[in-house]
């Protein structure tokens, strides 16, 4: 039976497998692949290949890995995949700030199958991997144009590592000037929290600005926080609320006047692509999550790439190696005496650079701007519809247009019906949509949810997504227990939320689970 034409709602039921954990499936001696022995010709040159491993590095006992044959491994992971809801299965609008756009499959095919990608090794001679080096080089030129900054680095394995790199670059910059007193970073509570976390990891003290009643961080608070101890300000704009700070120029100026650098979190640049640039906004550093805005794709903790951009004053401190072009060919440059070193081995997650390059080439300059325009249009279309749903409130910046996302609140729904944002979130799964993103912690907006209908989604997609929210709101007012006990058509039923705060009941590895007596 097809989707209901009137309500746009689906009759959905998720697959539910009583699947074991792969460690439990282990049968001693069972194998997926029997690794062939090296032939005589090879052995004659390299020996047995094992005796070169130093004794101290050699395991005394084999690792306790599951022993499972290919067919069972395949079935296992296919079943698990049926119990999840990825971007290729559902309308992935709910994961705001993540920019879950469609990633054309051709990119995946190139990255996964092209021998120029699958058969290269980072220790090869530069001359034998000119193709990927050229892609790195050209991608850098693209991002320079997009941001207005002077140099890019593709080493960080994600957005958090990119911000960490930016914090290291800020530190190197001040240290190089002999300024060792600057040990504070300023951020805002609605910036992505990594702008606090990564500088803290780099050893900085972090000062956070809170929103005023309109949701903006105030210039007055910033000026009170700035001092000769400030190394930099690390902010996202538009913030995670989708609100663009109209005083950003004054923020940047105040920071520069205090001798601090300004780092622009553009992990999600979907509202700005081709419209504004970090350089014109006065920033010294920025970063893009190529797996968000540039469709590489966003892989839920999978391989990612945070591209860091800097002004020329900071170029000397960038990690090594850098991809350079000498007029004839591309090469890796390790000779950079001021470099902070590395934040990751070799030159990062190469497939993501390829996918980003492919995506930009498919769009062209005008296409990139159109991406931002579609994203903002989509969001404002959806915003109008969501605001009409009973129980939804929108905090801050009244009558101001949001950019690529909005942070909504179910506060009224909770007051009226007792149904909170987590209840709604779980109920989404019953209509074939994956759970949505509420907000980062601490939750400043009560009972939050933050959808982001980026450029990939059609009017029909958005209408279906909104129809589900509207339906759940109706259910909350008419039959709250239905929502509170959701999901009903899913793989696992309600997981009591306070339970996951009990650390002794959380295990992220099989070994830990055994140790804690959970299995």
């Amino acid at each position: 039976m097809p989707r209901d034409k009137e309500t746009l709602l689906r009759k959905f039921h998720q697959a539910k497998w009583d699947e074991q954990i792969i460690f439990e499936m282990s049968v001693p001696g069972e194998r997926g692949i029997l690794v062939p022995q090296a032939g005589e010709e090879i052995s004659a040159i390299i020996g047995d290949g094992l005796s070169v491993i130093p004794d101290q590095l050699r395991r005394k006992t084999p690792p306790a890995l599951p022993e499972v044959a290919q067919a069972r491994v395949l079935r296992h992971f296919m079943r698990l995949s049926q119990e999840t809801m990825g971007a290729d299965v559902n309308i992935d609008i709910g994961e705001g700030t993540c920019t879950m756009k469609y990633s054309p499959k051709v990119q995946e095919h190139l990255a996964a199958r092209h021998p120029g990608m699958t058969a290269i090794h980072p220790l090869q001679d530069d001359e034998t991997m000119q193709g990927i080096l050229e892609i790195y080089y050209r991608l850098e030129q693209f991002l320079k144009e997009i941001s207005g900054l002077d140099y890019f680095c593709f080493q960080p394995g994600g957005g958090s590592q990119a911000v960490f790199l930016n914090a290291c670059l800020v530190r190197a910059y001040h240290a190089d000037r002999g300024d060792h007193e600057r040990d504070e970073i300023i951020t805002t509570i609605f910036s992505h929290p990594v702008n606090a976390a990564a500088p803290a990891t780099a050893g900085y003290k972090v000062i956070t600005l809170m929103p005023d009643e309109n949701g903006y961080p105030t210039l007055e608070a910033l000026k009170e926080a700035l001092s000769e101890r400030t190394a930099g300000i690390f902010i996202t704009n538009p913030e995670d609320t989708g609100i663009y700070n109209p005083e950003i120029a004054e923020f940047v100026k105040a920071a520069h006047d205090a001798g601090a650098l300004c780092s622009y979190d553009q992990a999600n640049a979907n509202g700005l692509l081709g419209v504004t640039r970090a350089r014109e906004a006065g920033f010294d550093l920025c970063h893009f999550n190529l797996h968000k805005t540039f469709s590489a794709p966003h892989g839920c903790m999978g391989p990612a790439m945070g591209a860091v951009g800097v002004r020329s004053e900071l170029a000397g401190f960038l990690p090594v190696p850098r991809v350079e072009f000498d007029g004839q060919g591309y090469y890796l440059d390790y000779n950079r005496p001021q470099s902070i070193g590395r934040v990751r081995s070799f030159f990062g997650n190469t497939p993501l650079a390829l996918k980003t390059y492919t995506w930009i080439m498919q769009h062209g300059a005008e296409g990139l701007r159109e991406v931002a325009e579609c994203a903002v249009l989509n969001n404002n279309y959806m915003d109008k519809k969501i605001r009409e749903i009973p129980g939804v409130v929108v905090y801050y910046a009244k009558d101001e247009r949001r950019l690529e996302q909005v942070r909504y609140s179910w506060e009224k729904l909770k007051e009226d019906t007792g149904v909170d944002t987590e209840d709604v979130e779980r109920r989404m799964a019953d209509y074939g949509l994956q759970h949505y993103f509420t907000s980062h912690h601490p939750q400043v907006v009560p009972e939050p949810f933050t959808p982001e209908p980026c450029d990939s989604y059609s009017k029909d997609d958005i209408d279906e997504f909104v129809a589900v929210l509207r339906q759940i709101s109706r259910e909350a007012y008419e039959e709250p227990d239905l929502v509170k006990n959701a999901p009903h058509h899913s793989t696992i039923h309600m997981v009591q939320n306070p339970l996951i705060f009990e650390l002794e009941k959380i295990a992220t590895t099989w070994r830990q689970a055994k140790k804690k007596g959970l299995v």
Partner: protein
């Protein structure tokens, strides 16, 4: 079978609607009744109890007669066990105290009570922190942090606690102001002590925020940051009351006065539970720093429960030597309202009103507005 105690202060909130600011004395109660006031607590209690009704078969409800709980329990659909005796229409704070004591003896897992600051005080006086409690807000003044945000939330948290879904308990402030003085326009609040309430930050006090770290981890971070600042510092540290400041003392391994002010120097205790005069003696000739936290649900920094740290003490120490400590969740729970100062000195209040730095964790700070 879990036992739940239910106590209703039948006159809580009586004065509010008619503008009498509380119901602590018999005169006021009579005056309020003459003005046509109706108590808020019965309706609110029923509203909360209805959310526990689903666990009726797993819960034994013990309550006090007539308007002190029996009527509300029946109205909500429970068949309660009624203990004690009262004079209906003439209940007193002593009845609340006796009820709390008897329920504690009966071994209840939780006392759900409806009232205001005075009711919380009565229960605190009777049983201290022996039994977990939770307040249904019904009073005119609620400075205490033992109350849920709404009656519905109180019911939800009580239900979760009885089901075993919430296990952790948190110490929450019992505050009260002098009603007589309050009617005369003077707010004089005291921190009476701490009751233990189920920890569910979304429903109780920290209504609108939730942190990724547990309260305890955050407190340890804050304490570590304050103590890091004490290194090679000869200043006297004036430690205000509260559980947040207590974390500093505990981390230093020092005896702490929860409701009073202690003084520390070079990480050693100099004086306990000091008065204003003792503080003035110390700060007269010495460098000092004041460590304060936000007291109660209203966001007060000075003037509620820490009056020993008087305007003269604060002026002597200097604004730049005030170290404010609080969790981010507590700041967020103020919904954008400023931290408040009511030192008793208008000029000083004005001086303190600005953006100040609040220590919210280890090497972690928030700029927050202070007002009065």
């Amino acid at each position: 079978m879990k036992k739940l105690g239910v106590i209703v202060n039948p006159i809580a909130g009586l004065g509010g609607r008619v503008g009498l600011k509380g119901s602590d004395s018999l005169d006021i109660i009579n005056k309020a009744r003459q003005m046509g006031a109706r108590p808020e607590s019965p309706r609110r209690t029923v509203e909360a109890l209805k959310l526990i009704l689903k666990q009726k078969n797993q819960t034994q409800v013990i309550t006090y007669p007539a308007e002190m709980g029996e009527e509300e329990c029946l109205a909500a659909g429970f068949e309660p066990e009624v203990i004690g005796s009262i004079i209906s229409g003439g209940t007193t704070p002593e009845d609340t105290q006796t009820a709390a004591r008897e329920m504690a003896c009966a071994g209840v897992s939780l006392i759900l009570f409806a009232g205001g600051d005075g009711t919380a005080r009565n229960i605190y006086d009777a049983i201290g922190d022996k039994v977990p409690v939770l307040g249904i807000p019904a009073g005119v003044k609620i400075h205490s942090a033992v109350y849920a945000v709404t009656p519905r939330n109180a019911g939800e948290v009580a239900a979760m606690f009885l089901q075993g879904r919430l296990k952790k308990l948190r110490e929450a402030e019992v505050m009260d102001i002098d009603e007589q003085a309050f009617r005369e326009g003077v707010v004089s609040a005291r921190l009476y002590g701490y009751l233990r309430v189920p920890e569910e930050s979304r429903y109780i006090q920290h209504a609108k925020s939730r942190g990724a770290l547990s309260g305890e981890e955050t407190l340890q971070g804050i304490a570590a940051d304050v103590i890091a600042g004490m290194k090679e510092d000869d200043s006297y540290y004036i430690i205000g009351p509260g559980t947040t400041t207590r974390a500093v003392m505990e981390r230093l391994g020092l005896k702490n006065t929860l409701l009073g002010v202690d003084v520390v120097r070079r990480r050693a205790l100099v004086a306990s539970d000091v008065s204003e005069n003792q503080l003035l003696d110390i700060v007269k000739d010495h460098q000092a720093k004041i460590i304060v936290t936000v007291i109660g649900g209203q966001g007060y920094l000075f003037g509620r429960g820490n009056q020993q740290i008087s305007p003269r003490v604060i002026q002597q120490v200097g604004k730049k030597n005030i170290v404010i400590i609080a969790t981010k969740e507590k700041l967020i729970s103020l919904s954008g309202r400023p931290l408040l100062v009511d030192t008793g000195d208008e000029e000083l209040n004005k001086q303190l009103s600005s953006y100040m730095r609040v220590t919210t964790g280890f090497k972690d700070y928030v700029m927050y507005r202070v007002g009065y």
